[in-house]
Symmetry: C2
Subunit: 404 residues, 2 copies
């Protein structure tokens, strides 16, 4: 029998699990679910065409009740081995976990679905989030699917191009003028006051949703673990979930060891990388964040300190890459058939950098998390040097003959 409690990741304070709790009332660090009995969990084998990830992994989740389930078919995303690329970089094996094949084309759908289910279970009629990108789209979609009143808070300067794919789901979309970092904390206060369940970036139930990425990787690799899993990191919620998933499967005896986790950031906004490199226990706010990888441009990640603790206990590391390296990696990955948004190219850029630096030796088996679709932010393609040629139909045959 499972027993579930919520612990502060910073001071260890325990909280009641059957409530919407997000941050420690003592030290303000993020909270995490602790599931006693998870080590006896079993994967519920079944036909994935008729099963949800929540049914399959129910034993490992803090709760699962079919009556609260809200699913658009999130998860069960492919893991693709890029043989040619791993050879050309000079590493053992390179796998892409392609989270762009989710219902709103990013990894966020896993955590959103699970957060919505928790909100429903607790009797909430309203949900919300603070985001300008993948998470806003995801929460708007799942709020619509769950028929819940949905608040999406975005910063005031967001472009109409970015607003449209959120607004189409018809949430209450509010542009908020003011410090965007403060908005995260203010939303949690407003949520308490107004009975709105804010499924923000590192909400404990979002982390629980993200851990299913690790479960799937284990199954897809027949429980033969990679050396490294590289995660583009912004708030820290996803990387925490992935590490937790591996840790739980190890506790169950399903895998022998937890892969080392690499936190990959963009140099233009890399508070976790900086603190890790400098040996600090806490992150410092980045003053003027600037990177093409908008999806991970968070100057003060709310789970930043916990990511530092996680990396150190896991034996993992942090790294950061330039926009130029990101753009190159995005094109390189597309040349293998996988087109991710700039943030999703950060892990591949990190591999290339770590190999050049000699930190990777050449025989490693590595999984990169591709967090979202390249269609999410096509303006970034203007930085690629993309070209095409032209000819007239009558001349096409000769044109092909003489040019290729």
């Amino acid at each position: 029998m499972k027993s579930v409690s919520i612990h502060c990741t910073g001071c260890g304070q325990k909280f009641e699990a059957n409530q919407a709790a997000f941050r420690c009332s003592v030290c303000n660090e993020p909270l995490e679910l602790v599931i006693e009995g998870v080590n006896e969990g079993k994967i519920k084998e079944g036909n994935i065409l008729t099963q949800t990830i929540w049914e399959r992994y129910a034993d490992f989740l803090p709760f699962f009740h079919k009556e609260y389930e809200v699913s658009l078919g999130e998860g069960f995303t492919p893991l693709t081995n890029l043989k040619k690329l791993s050879e050309s970089i000079g590493i053992g094996d390179l796998y892409i976990k392609n989270e762009s094949q989710n219902p709103t084309w990013s990894f966020k759908d896993r955590g959103t679905a699970y957060g919505v289910m928790h909100a429903k279970k607790l009797g909430y009629k309203k949900i919300g989030t603070v985001s300008t990108g993948n998470m806003a789209t995801s929460v708007a979609a799942y709020g619509a699917a769950a028929n819940m009143e949905t608040f999406v808070l975005v910063s005031k300067d967001i472009s109409q191009e970015k607003i449209n794919p959120i607004a189409i789901y018809n949430p209450h979309l509010i542009k908020v003028e003011g410090n965007y970092g403060d908005l995260y904390f203010e939303s949690l206060e407003i949520g308490k006051d107004k009975d709105i369940y804010f499924i923000n970036s590192d909400a404990p139930m979002r982390v629980e949703g993200s851990k299913t990425i690790a479960y799937e990787i284990c199954e897809q690799l027949s429980f033969q673990m990679p050396d490294y899993v590289i995660v583009p990191t912004s708030s820290g919620g996803n990387i925490r979930g992935i590490e937790k998933g591996f840790r739980e499967f190890k506790a169950c005896g399903l895998i022998n060891h937890v892969p080392k986790i690499i936190c990959a950031q963009a140099l233009g906004c890399s508070p976790i990388y900086k603190a890790f490199k400098d040996g600090n226990d806490t992150i410092a706010r980045v003053d003027n964040p600037h990177t093409i990888a908008h999806a991970i441009e968070n100057p003060y990640p709310p789970s930043g300190n916990q990511v530092l603790r996680t990396l150190r206990s896991n034996g993992g590391k942090a790294t950061a890459v330039s926009d130029e390296e990101i753009i190159k990696a995005q094109a390189l990955m597309a040349e293998q058939g996988i087109f991710g948004q700039p943030a999703s190219a950060v892990p591949l850029a990190a591999i290339i950098k770590l190999k050049t630096e000699g930190i990777l030796k050449g025989n490693e088996k590595i999984v990169c998390i591709v967090t979202g679709s390249g269609l999410k932010y096509t303006a970034a393609l203007d930085m690629q040097k993309l070209d095409s040629t032209e000819c007239r139909l009558e001349e096409l045959r000769d044109f092909i003959s003489s040019n290729y």
Copy 2:
């Protein structure tokens, strides 16, 4: 033991299966694979996390050899029941088969993958396609994944915005000036001459790939067939594949009956609908096609006549909806959490129209094929009346209190 041959869908002429054949040399109608022994086929049960659709459905395919497999994780897409929407429209059950969760975010990936495998099997080093949208992206991606020289022929007036997500995969991208309809036929000639396997819209192996959509629907509905399956229709390759898949599963005894197939077009470009309505055996070219649903804006569908024959033998029908109806349906579907490109909203618009006309009675079980992601063509969102509100962070709490 399977025995495979290729038949002309028009005159019945037989062709050798072990070659790249696309159209009948006698009557110029499209070709179709006939697989003797498919009625003894069995689904290869397995863990979908480690299985491809080609492995699972190998018994039903003209060929499958693991050494030629090229997969990015296509297929195994969700089927989602939209209960609230079926109630509000007044039909029995409404399901969405969400093909936007494919590697390049459209249904095209199934047929492209299978076409590439066939090209590899036949020893081709070069593949190509004629398309400006979903198929161009898909063929560019799979050509990259297969490490094959890839020719993507597009029309000269395509915008850079549409070029970029194709070009990122780095194919030979050629803008061709001239009649776009003629380009389809010319490409097949050039292909013969230059050893380029053109996986165009209704290539026989693309149709074989598309039929896996039907197989999955059967599994997802536990082999309890819907009354109708509605397919947005352009060239006719996808709808042909879907009908063939159901027909083959019926031949195997896996299902009791083949659902009626509805060909859904946009009124601004509806050659199949027009011919069906007028009782004609052949389609006529549409002179000035114009619709927001670009993905199905084909004025002279190369499989148009065969779609007419298929609809008549199947007992299905054709319908067409206006751009206004499409835009409304796109928003309505997003309000249930599923955001498709305009062409993908055509089936839902068709249901609403057919219900209003009394052709649907109200207890029908219907599957709509959502062919591609709403992110494919976000410019269409400018036609939606999407709005948002604004406030300052300090006022957010009061703003929410007084407005919601």
